[in-house]
Amino acid sequence: MTAEMDPATDGAMSYVYAVGRAGTPVETALAGRQGLEGTPLRTVRAGDLVALVSSVPSASYGAEGVQAQMEDLGRLEVLARTHHAVVEAAYEHATVLPMRLATVYLGDGRVREMLGEREPEFSALLARLEGHVELGVKVYADPREAVAVSSREAEADTTDRPGRAYLQRRRAQQQNHRATYRAAGAVAAGVSDRVAGIAEAHVTHRPQQGELTEAAGENIVNDAYLVHGTRAGAFRAALAGLGDDVPGVRVEITGPWAPYSFATPPEAGGGEPR
C-alpha cells in the first residue's frame, strides 16, 4: 500500500521484530532490507540491547488496524511471513529474541524504554539461547495410507460376497486404525530417545489441525526441540529414517527456526499458553 511511508512522519509507529545484543551483527546485517509495508529495517539501541524495528503507518497498526489485519487471513499471512522473514534473516547473523507478532510501540522512544525495563530478562534469555536453534518434529498417523497398502489383494476374490467383504474390510480398517496410531505413538516415543544427547530442551505444541495443515493424516505429535546450531545436522541425522518402515506413520522435521518456542519465559508453561 504505502511504500511512500516516511519513517519520520508523525503517523508512524515502531514495529518490533526482535531484540538482540548491541555490538553483534544484528546492528548492521539487515541494513537496506525492508520490513512490513516496504519500509527499511533499523535498530533502536538502549544499553546493551538493540531492537530490530521498522516504521509502520498508525492507520494499519493501531488497535483497529492490527485487528483488521489479523481477522483477514490473507493479510495475516503477509504480516506473519514478513515478520518471520525478518526474524529469520536476523537470526542468520546473531542470536535474537523473536517478538510476538504485532508488538508495536508509538515510537522509538517507547521502544528504548521497553528495552530498559526488560534488560535483565532479555539478557538472561539471550544468554540461554545464544547459538541455539529450534527444530520442529511432527509425527503423523495416516491409517488410510496403511489400509491402502494392506488391503489391495484382499479385495479381488470377494466381490460375490459383498457383505462379508464389507465386514472384513471394516474390521481390517479398525485394526489398521488402531495399529497405525499405536505405531505412530511408538515412533513418537522414539524421538526423544534418539535426540537425547543432542537436544537441550523440549516443548510440546498442540497438534495441528484445520485447513492450514497441508499434510496428509493426523498430526499426533507436534514438538519443538532446542538444539545448538552446530548440532542441527546431528539432530536430523539422529531422526533420519524414523518411521520410514512403518506404513501410515510419517515423521516431519522443520527448521531450523529461530527459537520462538523457547523465547517465552518459563512461567508461560512452554506448550499451552492459557
Binding site: E88, H93, R100, V133, G136, G210, L212, P256, W257, P273
Partner: protein, 152 residues
C-alpha cells in the same frame, strides 16, 4: 528445508535465504510460532482484550485443536466454506456435483448389494427380513425400501 540458521554458525555469507524459507515454510508452522510463541510483551498498541481472545480462538482453529473449540461450543468455521471442507460439501451451491454423485451412486450400489446379501443370510438362518416391524417373507423384495440408511 533450509540450513540457513545453522549456516550462520559457520559460513558468514549463507546465500540469502531471506525470502526463501519464507515462502516454503508452512503457514501453520509460522503462525504457530509468531502468534503463540516468541517474547510476549505488551506493546503500546493494545487490542481489546476480549477481541484478542476471540481472535486467538479463531486462529487456533486454523492450526490447533478443533475438538477443543467444539467443546467450547465454537463451530462457526464449519459453516464457512473458506475454512471448512465440510461446509463446502454441505452447501448445495458450493457442491462439486459430479464427484459427489459418482461417490454417492457407488455407495448406493454397495448398499443395495449389502441389503440383498443380508436378506439372503437372514433367510438362510431363519430370521425375519430387515425392515423390523412389517414382515415380508424372508427373501428379497422387502429389503428394497429400506432407504433411510445414511451411509456415513
Amino acid at each position: 528445508m533450509s540450513d540457513s540458521l545453522a549456516g550462520r554458525m559457520g559460513a558468514s555469507s549463507a546465500a540469502s535465504p531471506y525470502g526463501q524459507q519464507q515462502s516454503s515454510a508452512n503457514l501453520a508452522d509460522i503462525l504457530e510460532r509468531v502468534l503463540d510463541k516468541g517474547v510476549v510483551i505488551a506493546g503500546d498498541i493494545q487490542i481489546n482484550l476480549l477481541d484478542i481472545e476471540l481472535l486467538t480462538i479463531k486462529l487456533r482453529l486454523l492450526v490447533a485443536s478443533v475438538d477443543k473449540a467444539k467443546e467450547m461450543g465454537i463451530d462457526w468455521w464449519e459453516h464457512d466454506p473458506s475454512l471448512s471442507s465440510r461446509a463446502r460439501t454441505e452447501r448445495p451451491e458450493a457442491r462439486g456435483a459430479s464427484r459427489d454423485d459418482a461417490a454417492g451412486s457407488q455407495v448406493e450400489a454397495e448398499n443395495a448389494r449389502l441389503r440383498a446379501e443380508i436378506a439372503e443370510l437372514r433367510a438362510a438362518v431363519g430370521l425375519p427380513a430387515a425392515g423390523s416391524g412389517q414382515e415380508s417373507l424372508p427373501g428379497r423384495p422387502g429389503v428394497e425400501h429400506a432407504e433411510g440408511e445414511e451411509s456415513k
